[in-house]
Symmetry: C2
Subunit: 456 residues, 2 copies
């Protein structure tokens, strides 16, 4: 998979902007750049100091295509660890494409998705979990997602696994040494110490796998369902929550929101409203949803906002129909239209779930509802510096590590011989190594980097 | 209008990408940057050499927000002529906004649209027509538009006007000197030489205003109408032309096309198909358009592709209904479905317009049709290095210059006194000066820069 050709791609967001960046990386990055640009100073790029910027013209057939800034980075002190060049051009889509085309004509290859980061991994600039953190950082849509990705990029996660894996590697070496002396019945590896280490690893791995449901929620948003009888104000509530959030975002203008609109961020945590197609563009119309679809919605959510109309005397029958689907869910009972309240509810009717009185229309008590959403996440259990798993691949590898560790423990308890122990410990080492990329294959790498965008 | 505060904005295209750039410019650009970032080397940014790049962390409340590259530019050697910083961060929309927010919290102001370029103009880095060329470059969607904008940015246009304006300024000084000696009836300014200069300017100005219709076409695309009876294959032809062009563009992948889909680029020239809403998403359906709407379409176009079905014996009656609207238009008669031809046409029936035989469905002769479109532009009259006006503001100023020049010529012919001459020459100087920005006011500047994007 290690390639020695030079690749190029547009690294900034697709579309027109003031500035766009085209990035080259590889052995011939300077050579190719020098074929197509002329520095204003007349100096040769490859003679210049690393990490310097040069005002230049991109030239094709003696025609000036654009005035650009060229930044040069010398191997190994670049993102990829290779010689790299960044050309900062006028951000017309046409000019970006034109310059990329000229670069490719002059010997570069269009980079594959994630190829820059893959090269960084291949050149030892990042381990695999750090490379994945780069993709997570770029995809991060909330403060929590950014923070978890940043922690992972800083290596906290892989460092910890690395230390445990090295200790285990030490034991397996001793155990395999025993095999050479198998006729003498020696034990170089202290079995109690080994069992102790395996238990430490199991505790760590368990805590990491436990963090995954939170990590996944952080990365993809916590699914929230708004349910209730027709006309209780579900769409009004959705719009109120979305608007509150948008008001904050538009403060810093100059950027557009993502296309996924039905998400809000509260204290840096992303909440994702599911199945809102029928709710979003209407206010105060009758939103009806069959009981089956409501149950589907409840099943997909982690938090249920169960809306009840306080202005009419009506038993909330819906609750009885959905309550068997509420285990492991967080239920928030929202009593809406509180300004016209005639209905009184008792928490004991809802398995002691929290009851919150609001008016979606008049925006009464919305801040408290937002606080309830945050409380419902149990994120308080996690500290800012805790290591949290957000990646399904890591989760699977950790689960397999845990399973293999059970075999090791069982083998130890049954006093099995070194060769059996060695196989199970090697399996643990293998799964742990997959996370950091010390153990990898082209298929794993291909899957990981194919999900990156081109240009990263 | 000259401001001494520090501004910041996201300079790359809106949306998520691998990399995004946030740009600061102004007196406190370094100071503000140093408040929010820490270089990995631990060195102070403001002590570093200009045009260098520094691997850093953006930090808020002791939390690492992102790992970034920081590029520094020292006044006056920056785009704006001020101290400037570019922060290249991970291109998540959330991270871009977050960093911009932190910068603004630390004392920068969100830049107005075009403010960087306005500051460059104010600081004498660009004249006004060059500043406008920057916006044109960023908006350029074809090779021709890019080339014209680039020529304008390189100053060819303003230089030429500047030379003529300076010569005229010389004359007006002499003429105004005559006013001081008005009782002595002297003529410091040679009237023949003045008339000669005015005529040179008039020729130049005329040629520039004449170029505007081409310039405008280059910038905005040449409007083309596809007209014809129902079922002659208009939508098929449109789709064939669009697909041919897209095939080329998709070769260089990694970027998305603009949202305006009904444009094609042939040999770097942009053609814009007008009123294709009914045509675009269908193939081979009956597209009917009332005669009035067809005439409206013809009026808006510069090139008419008049499609006739060769597979049926039918007189092209439509021609008689639209022919009175074809003066100043270029008509291309396209005989479609030539693989099933039964109809023979004679060029003399169409005022000797070119007749082109194609099959839109089987893509026969499409390259020739594209060549006819290029020929129809008369762009052959313009050389690559010709200066072409693309800006309506310049066009108006040049027209006014020309009008004022007629007054000067008339005054010279009638032997009017220096004071009359002076007024008309001053008017010419004023209009010429408006183009380069030597004569400007806040309103003109406000209008120009308000049309820029934020970040430029």
């Amino acid at each position: 998979m290690l390639r020695d050709d030079t690749v190029a791609a547009i690294a900034t967001a697709p579309g027109a902007g003031a500035i766009a960046i085209i990035r080259l990386s590889g052995n011939n990055a300077f050579e190719i750049t020098e074929k197509i640009i002329k520095t204003k100073s007349g100096k040769k790029l490859s003679d210049q100091k690393p990490n310097t910027i040069h005002f230049s013209e991109v030239i094709e057939n003696e025609t000036i295509i654009d005035e650009v800034l060229v930044s040069i980075f010398h191997a190994p002190h670049s993102y990829t660890g290779e010689n790299s060049v960044e050309i900062s051009c006028h951000g017309s889509l046409f000019i970006q494409q034109k310059i990329l085309e000229i670069i490719i004509k002059n010997g570069a290859r269009l980079a594959d998705p994630g190829e820059y980061t893959m090269r960084a991994f291949m050149n030892g600039k990042l381990d695999l979990s750090q490379a994945e953190a780069v993709a997570d950082l770029i995809a991060s849509k909330s403060e929590a997602a950014r923070r978890v990705a940043m922690n992972q990029l800083k290596g906290g996660f892989s460092d910890e696994l690395q230390i445990l894996r090295n200790e285990l590697l030490n034991f397996v070496s001793l155990i395999e040494l025993e095999l050479d002396f198998s006729e003498e019945d020696v034990e170089f590896a202290n079995r109690d110490e080994l069992e102790n280490l395996i238990n430490i690893i199991r505790t760590k791995v368990k805590s990491l796998t436990n963090s995954f449901s939170y990590g996944n929620a952080i990365k993809n948003g916590i699914p929230v369902a708004i349910v209730g009888q027709p006309n209780v104000g579900k769409s009004t509530l959705l719009n109120t929550l979305l608007k509150e959030d948008k008001a904050i975002v538009s403060d810093i203008a100059g950027t557009t929101r993502d296309s996924i609109e039905d998400v809000i961020t509260i204290e840096g945590v992303l909440f994702r409203f599911i199945d809102t197609a029928g709710l979003r563009h209407t206010t105060d119309t009758i939103e009806n949803l069959g009981i089956e679809r409501t149950i589907e919605k409840v099943k997909k959510a982690e938090i249920i906002l169960y809306l009840i109309d306080a202005s009419v005397e009506r038993k909330p029958e819906l609750y009885n129909k959905i309550k068997m689907h509420l285990s492991n869910k967080k239920l928030i009972i929202v009593l809406n239209k509180i300004d016209k309240a005639v209905l009184k509810l008792d928490s004991s009717d809802f398995n002691n779930a929290e009851i919150l009185e609001i008016s979606a229309k008049h925006k009464t008590n919305i801040k408290n509802l937002e606080k309830s959403l945050i409380d419902a996440t149990n994120f308080a259990n996690f500290d800012e510096n805790d290591i949290i798993i957000t990646n399904a691949r890591h989760y699977v590898a950790l689960q397999k590590t845990y399973e293999a560790s059970e075999h090791v423990i069982s083998a130890l308890k049954r006093g099995l011989t070194s060769d059996f122990l060695s196989v199970d410990i090697r399996a643990m080492l293998n799964y742990l190594g997959e996370i950091t990329g010390e153990v990898s294959n082209n298929e794993i790498l291909g899957n990981i980097f194919a999900n990156f965008c081109i240009g990263k």
